[in-house]
Every structure is written in structure tokens, then in C-alpha cells.
Amino acid sequence: MTRRERALTTAHRGTIITGIALLGLVGVYVRALMFTPMERSQGLAQKIFYVHAPVAWAALLAFGITGLLSLLYLMLRDRKLDLIAAASAEVGVAFAVVMLTTGPLWGKPVWGTWWTWDARLTSTLFTFLLFVGYLVLRGALTDFEVRGRFSAVLGVMALVLVPFIHVTVYWFRTLHPDPVVMKPEAPSLPSVMLVTLLTSMAVCTLLYVGFIMQRYALAVLRDVREEEAAGGLS
């Protein structure tokens, strides 16, 4: 099988997985809206939680995988690792956008404000911007070998930076308690809600896998086309 055919197979499988995951997402929402009890103090707004938290998990997973694959790429220099790392960053950024939009939608009715400089909000925002930077850097480099090396270096740096940012903003907040911030203590979730949440997390993980397979296949196909174009010229 040629590289192109393999990529097309991956893309096809990715599409199937994405389809299953999207059906799962519908299932999660049917369950969340019809079969999961209403939270007493937050009302309908709490339903956002069943997409917000799982999506945040998927985004974090995606960024973590980008960082780890970057490290592996620097050691093994396998082009596949670079392409998967990039696909993971792209998918992670997409998930992070959903996380950062659903968060304020929930925050407005519950906290009374769209945005607060809470530690977790701040660190996810910076993490998001960091990986947008990663993608911007990739976009600005044309040579695939240089692009692979440079973005892997940035990926490794990012992996180490994220815990640092978290500690920094966490200290910043705790040392300066802000009376406007009314972050409720996380209640221990009733099991019905927990099942909905865990199902949704599984679905989002599957969605991540489906997306990443398609993005990766696309990257390989682009690569193949570029090679063919270069071959045609020489």
C-alpha cells in the first residue's frame, strides 16, 4: 500500500470514529437534558457542564500529547510523530475554543460575570494562546524538516511551561483573594450526574481520536502532494 492509500484508509476510519462519537454526543445530550436531574441552584445552565468539562479534558489531553510527541520527535526524528503532534495541537485548539466559549456562557448566569481571573481560567487561556502560537509558528515555516524541529522544541518548552503558569496564577489568586470571585466549592457529584459526565468524557476522547486521525491523514496527503509536486519539477 502506498503512503497515499494508507492515509486515505486512516481518514476513512477517522470519519467513522468521528461519526460514532458525534452520535454519542447526541446521546450524552439526550441523557443530560432528559434523564439527568436538574441541579437545584444552577438550573438549566448546569447542563453546559456536561460538554464544558469533557471538552476541557480533551483539550488538555491533546496538548499533553503534542508535548510528549514533540519530545519523542526530538529523540527519534520520525516525521510521523511531528505530523501527529501538529494534528493533536490543531484538535486541542478547537476543543479549547469550545471550552473557552461554553465557560463564559455558564459563568454569566451562575457567577454573574462572563470572565473572572480565576486561576484555572487564566491558565487555560494562556495554554490556549501558547498552542495557537505553536500553530502560527508551524504556519510560518515552509521547510518540513525545520518546521518539525522548531515546533518540537516549542512543544517541549510548552509542556514544561504549563505547570509553571498554573502555579503562578494560582498563587496570584490565593494571595490576592478577590471578593467578586464566587467560585463554588466543587460539590461531590451525585452518581446520575457523574455517569453522564463520564460518558461525555469518553465521547469527547473518541471525538478527539476521530478528529486527530482525519487531521493526520490530511497532513500526510498534503505531504505526499508536495513531494509529487517537487518530483514533477526535478
Binding site: 524541529r149 522544541v153 518548552m157 509553571f164 496564577v169
Partner: protein
């Protein structure tokens, strides 16, 4: 011919960069003027009846250093891009470690001088009586600058290879500056407010560990940037 050690390579690279800088002084003068301008403009960026000089001062100082530093960092490898001087540097038997350390040294001297000149102006403009606290403030500035320059040198070596490198550096570098700059601002206001040393240790250790970890990491990763 004497064998070149990492240290001698580093000194040679730093000396070369500083010599180029001394002969033109463009980057230095513009960074300095820029720093003074930012300090002066930030003074007006508030409602003076509610935000006092003292509340504004720590943030103003670090925004100034950050912006001025970013200008300086861009210069270090843009210099090498002209006439493809970086290829020449790569052809020499100089190790990547030596080149990185040299670039860091050059940038540290550059930024250090900019800071040295703008610090008295800061004290003057914002009327902060800190003469007794000066040694500890200088130590904090030095610590934050080392972390800043280490990461900045690595990233600027990458961005010079891209289009729009002047825009790219801040986009990539600013997230990395969150830990050192936030720590430095927190430390600066505590120092200006004459807080006891025990209130500084937490942020100092954060700043110190950032320096150690990111300096080492940048040093290790620099080879992957330089070597073709």
C-alpha cells in the same frame, strides 16, 4: 592555535555581538528611548485620583523591561540573518552550547544596560524611595532577566527563520514570560512596600526554579535549532 573551549566560544560570540552593537548603537539607543517612552506613557494610563504612583509602579517597570527586552532580543539573531552570517557561524567548529551561551551573554549585557539606565528614571518618574531596598530589587531584576533572556534567545533563534519574525517573537515569548514577570511584579511591589523578607521567599523560589529549569532546557534544545 589554541583549542577553543565552550567558554572561549561564548565570550567570542558575545564580544562580537557587543562590538557590532557598540559601533552602530542603533538597537541600544532605540531600545532605551523606547523604554523611557513606555515608562512615561504608562504614567498617564490611569485615573490619578484612584490609582496612585505607588500602585502603578511595579507593573509599569516590568511592562517597560518586557517590551524593551523584546526589541533587544529580536536584534540578536536578525544580525546573523543578514548576509547569512549564521551559516558562517555554523561552519566554524564552535559548539551550539558555546554559541547559545554567547548569545545569552550578549543579550544579558544589552538588556542589563537598558535596565540600568531606565531604573533611575523609573525611581525619578514614579517617585518611589527605594534606595535602601535597591540591592534586593536589583537581585530580582537580575533573576527575572536571566529567565527572560534564556527563553528569549532560544525563541528568537527560531523566529528569525520565519516570515514576520518581529511579530512572531512576542506571540511565542509572552506566554513564557507569565511566570517570571508575574513573580517579578509581585516581588517588586512587596519590596517597594518594605515587606519582610519572609513574604518574598515563595515568589523568589518560583522565579529561581523557572530560571534554572528554563535555562537548562533552552541550552539543551538550542542544538536542535542550530544544527542542520
Amino acid at each position: 592555535m589554541p583549542r577553543s573551549t565552550t567558554a572561549s566560544v561564548a565570550f567570542a560570540v558575545a564580544a562580537k555581538d557587543l562590538k557590532v552593537e557598540l559601533r552602530t548603537k542603533t538597537a541600544f539607543v532605540s531600545s532605551l528611548v523606547f523604554a523611557v517612552l513606555v515608562l512615561a506613557v504608562l504614567y498617564f494610563a490611569r485615573d490619578k485620583t484612584t490609582v496612585g504612583d505607588f500602585d502603578l509602579a511595579p507593573g509599569a517597570l516590568w511592562v517597560t523591561f518586557t517590551f524593551a527586552g523584546m526589541l533587544g532580543l529580536n536584534r540578536a539573531f536578525l544580525l546573523e540573518r543578514e548576509n547569512r552570517a549564521l551559516d558562517g557561524l555554523r561552519l566554524t567548529p564552535a559548539s551550539a552550547t558555546g554559541i547559545f551561551l554567547g548569545k545569552v551573554m550578549g543579550n544579558l549585557v544589552f538588556l542589563g544596560v537598558v535596565e540600568l539606565v531606565s531604573l533611575p528614571l523609573f525611581i525619578l518618574f514614579y517617585d518611589v524611595p527605594i534606595w535602601s531596598q535597591l540591592p534586593i530589587l536589583v537581585a530580582v531584576i537580575a533573576m527575572a532577566t536571566v529567565g527572560f533572556v534564556a527563553v528569549g534567545t532560544l525563541l528568537s533563534a527560531m523566529v528569525v527563520r520565519t516570515r514576520f519574525s518581529e511579530v512572531m517573537l512576542p506571540v511565542l515569548l509572552l506566554p513564557f514570560l507569565v511566570p517570571p514577570i508575574v513573580s517579578a511584579v509581585q516581588l517588586t511591589w512587596r519590596i517597594l512596600a518594605l515587606r519582610p523578607l519572609s513574604e518574598l521567599t515563595g515568589w523568589l523560589s518560583l522565579l529561581g526554579s523557572f530560571d534554572i529549569i528554563f535555562f537548562t532546557l533552552s541550552l539543551m534544545l538550542f542544538e536542535a535549532i542550530l544544527v542542520e
